[in-house]
């Protein structure tokens, strides 16, 4: 081994450049790999959020109409024997939109807030471990349970205030949540969140209806509508609710929350309410797996390209070494080295170059991630992690470096093995 290192250090600059080239490729592998590991972990962690719940969304029917989630459909769902709970969920941006300040804010991952029926919050989200305080309960109004990562980032604590969509809530609990895009950073009672969401829209609708009704003579139906309890105010509210219902999700908890029970209920729901999109955990996980797989394919292509460059550097370095050491190869053959032994020495040397580059790439990659991750997270305003460096990633990267080196060293090694000692010694 010492001899091998000594051989490598004969051309220090060349070896250093080669190792650096390999390290750059491996750095790419580590960074993209850590991103991939993060996504893969998210899929697993998100199961705590998706498991045991079937979600109902609106969908557009073949006539191009989106009827929303109607009371009739909900009654049909509640009537199914396998259904334990049907609860509305409203998911909104925790800080609201500010398109003027950030025109692309809708495209950037941002913390979400989820409005849930407080008496069902523990049942619906109990899969995510509560780390402090309590879940929401019946009677809660301006109370919030927030994800630990958000609490850490914004300096929130149980008993303290949190501002959600410009309204102050009291933090009553903290939970551990993955920073997957769909997983909320805070959970609050559905009623207040829905009220705060609808009120401005209802006000606008009231004004619009008022202008409409004021500008034209009212027909008997319009007059009747306005004569009902609540008058124009109530008509506007109903109108807005109907619009808003298009975006509301209903979550259905099966009586049997096992994977099979949840799957079975999802099938029953599809048969019962064909106008609604029924999303079961399998569907969500498949979707996430597909997204991760797509990322991994892209990452693999980029990684292969960047590491192949390192491999070519090794080929070049070892080919030069073979040329420079023809005399030594001849001497070694003369004293009894077989072609295989000669080749093995060069392959081992190339392997060490690859391994060293991989180790260096891992070290630099991990350091770069440690340095860049906080700034990136602050920029994205989401989650507590962007990269996940796992032992598996480190071991695979180093092993890949070694294999790359060995493969790259193969061709020069074959050339070394073919050196004819009689010719080489005669040349000297």
């Amino acid at each position: 081994m010492t001899g091998l290192v000594r051989d490598l250090l004969r051309q220090r600059l060349r070896a250093a450049l080669t190792v650096s080239g390999v390290a750059l490729g491996m750095l790419t592998l580590v960074v993209l790999g850590a991103l991939g590991e993060h996504f893969r972990a998210l899929v697993d962690e998100s199961k705590a959020y998706t498991r045991g719940v079937v979600r109902l969304f609106t969908k557009t029917n073949p006539d191009g109409i989106n009827p929303g989630i109607t009371d009739e459909a909900l009654d049909a769902v509640r009537g199914l024997p396998g259904v334990a709970v049907v609860a509305p969920t409203l998911v909104l941006y925790l800080d609201g939109f500010d398109l003027e300040a950030d025109p692309l804010s809708f495209a950037t991952p941002r913390p979400l807030v989820e409005g849930l029926a407080p008496d069902h919050a523990a049942t619906l989200r109990g899969g995510m471990p509560l780390v402090e305080g309590r879940w929401l309960r019946a009677g809660d109004e301006r109370h919030a349970v927030v994800a630990r990562w958000l609490a850490q980032r914004r300096g929130l604590g149980v008993g303290g205030p949190v501002t959600i969509r410009h309204v102050t809530y009291e933090v009553v609990g903290l939970y551990d949540a993955p920073d997957a895009p769909m997983v909320p950073a805070a959970v609050v009672p559905y009623g207040p969140l829905n009220h705060d969401f609808i009120t401005p829209g209802a006000e606008r609708a009231r004004r619009a209806l008022g202008e409409l009704f004021g500008a034209h003579p009212l027909g008997p139906m319009a007059q009747a509508a306005l004569a009902q309890e609540g008058g124009l105010e109530e008509a506007a509210r109903r109108f807005v609710e109907q619009q808003e219902a298009l975006f509301r999700v209903y979550e259905v908890i099966p009586r049997d929350r096992s994977a099979e029970g949840t799957r079975r209920l999802a099938e029953d729901l599809r048969a019962t309410v064909p106008d609604l999109a029924v999303i079961d955990p399998d569907r969500i996980e498949q979707q996430m797996e597909r997204a991760v797989a797509l990322f991994l394919v892209v990452a693999l292509i980029v990684t292969v390209i960047s590491t192949v460059v390192g491999g070519l550097l090794i080929v070049n370095t070892m080919a030069m070494a073979v040329l420079e050491r023809r005399r030594e190869i001849g001497i070694k053959s003369a004293v009894g080295a077989t072609p295989g032994q000669v080749a093995l020495e060069f392959v081992a040397e190339a392997g060490v170059l690859g391994l060293t580059g991989a180790v260096l790439g891992v070290l630099v990659g991990v350091a770069a991630i440690r340095l860049a991750e906080p700034a990136l997270l602050a920029q994205l305003e989401s989650g507590s992690r962007l990269f996940l460096v796992t032992p598996r990633l480190v071991v695979l990267t180093v092993a890949y470096g070694g294999v790359l080196g060995v493969l790259a060293g193969g061709i020069p090694a074959l050339r070394a093995a073919r050196v004819d000692p009689a010719i080489v010694l005669r040349e000297l």
Binding site: R327, I331, S333, V335, G336, P339, Q341, A422, L425, R426
Partner: protein, 227 residues
């Protein structure tokens, strides 16, 4: 009771190289030679007469084109590359005019090189290399690199290396060609010690005085043994 096979036996040995312009250059043209075990033979002849080629063929560095070449009873012609390497490692030792030591290795590591390829454990390699260096009078220089050794010392290291694998046949190509007379005398004395130990020596030299001191002298001219 039959006598043991000669250490070296050549019958009608020929070696032809591809020459410039697609022609053929005949280096050996039917060499007949027998060297008994423990015998010391000097090969002489003018430059280009085929001395080094003969040594390369006998040392399994080169393949004969035609004829028979046997070393310790082993026919060299059918041996594949690996078998020829094994023969060089265990039965035949080389000493070259330019010493051919590896500059990045110490004297001890150079001597231990054949043992490394024989798979001998590092500790045992060191012990045997140290013994051999002591035998050629260089125990104190074991950790020195070739560049810090004199020509004579380098040739001693090369001799120790040639014997490391337990060679029974020693092939020396102008071993004193790069040495002054006194140092050359020391190397020749060491070679005689080796022969006295039962090793067969075939030595190529231009030095006719030196050649005359060996058991037998074989003259080559134009690739043939002179009568």
């Amino acid at each position: 009771m039959s006598s043991p096979a000669p250490a070296i036996e050549c019958v009608g040995l020929e070696k032809t190289y591809a020459g410039p312009g697609g022609g053929q250059v005949a280096a050996l043209r039917g060499v007949d030679l027998a060297v008994a075990r423990g015998e010391a033979v000097a090969i002489t002849g003018p430059s280009g007469c085929g001395k080094t080629t003969l040594l390369n063929v006998l040392g399994a560095l080169d393949r004969p084109t035609a004829g028979v070449a046997r070393v310790l009873g082993q026919d060299l012609a059918p041996l594949d590359t690996r078998a020829r390497a094994l023969l060089r490692r265990t039965a035949v030792g080389f000493v070259f005019q330019q010493f051919h030591l590896i500059p990045t290795l110490t004297a001890e590591e150079n001597v231990a090189l054949p043992l490394r390829y024989a798979g001998v454990a590092p500790a045992e390699r060191r012990r045997r290399a140290t013994d051999l260096l002591a035998r050629v009078g260089l125990a104190a220089r074991a950790d020195h690199h070739p560049t810090s050794l004199s020509g004579g010392e380098q040739q001693r290291v090369a001799l120790a290396r040639a014997l490391a694998g337990g060679a029974q046949v020693l092939l020396a190509d102008e071993p004193t060609g790069n040495l002054d007379r006194a140092t050359a005398g020391e190397i020749v004395a060491l070679l005689r010690e080796v022969v006295a130990g039962g090793v067969t020596l075939v030595l190529v030299t231009h030095d006719l005085d030196l050649a005359g001191t060996f058991d037998r002298q074989v003259k080559l001219r134009d690739g043939r043994v002179e009568a």
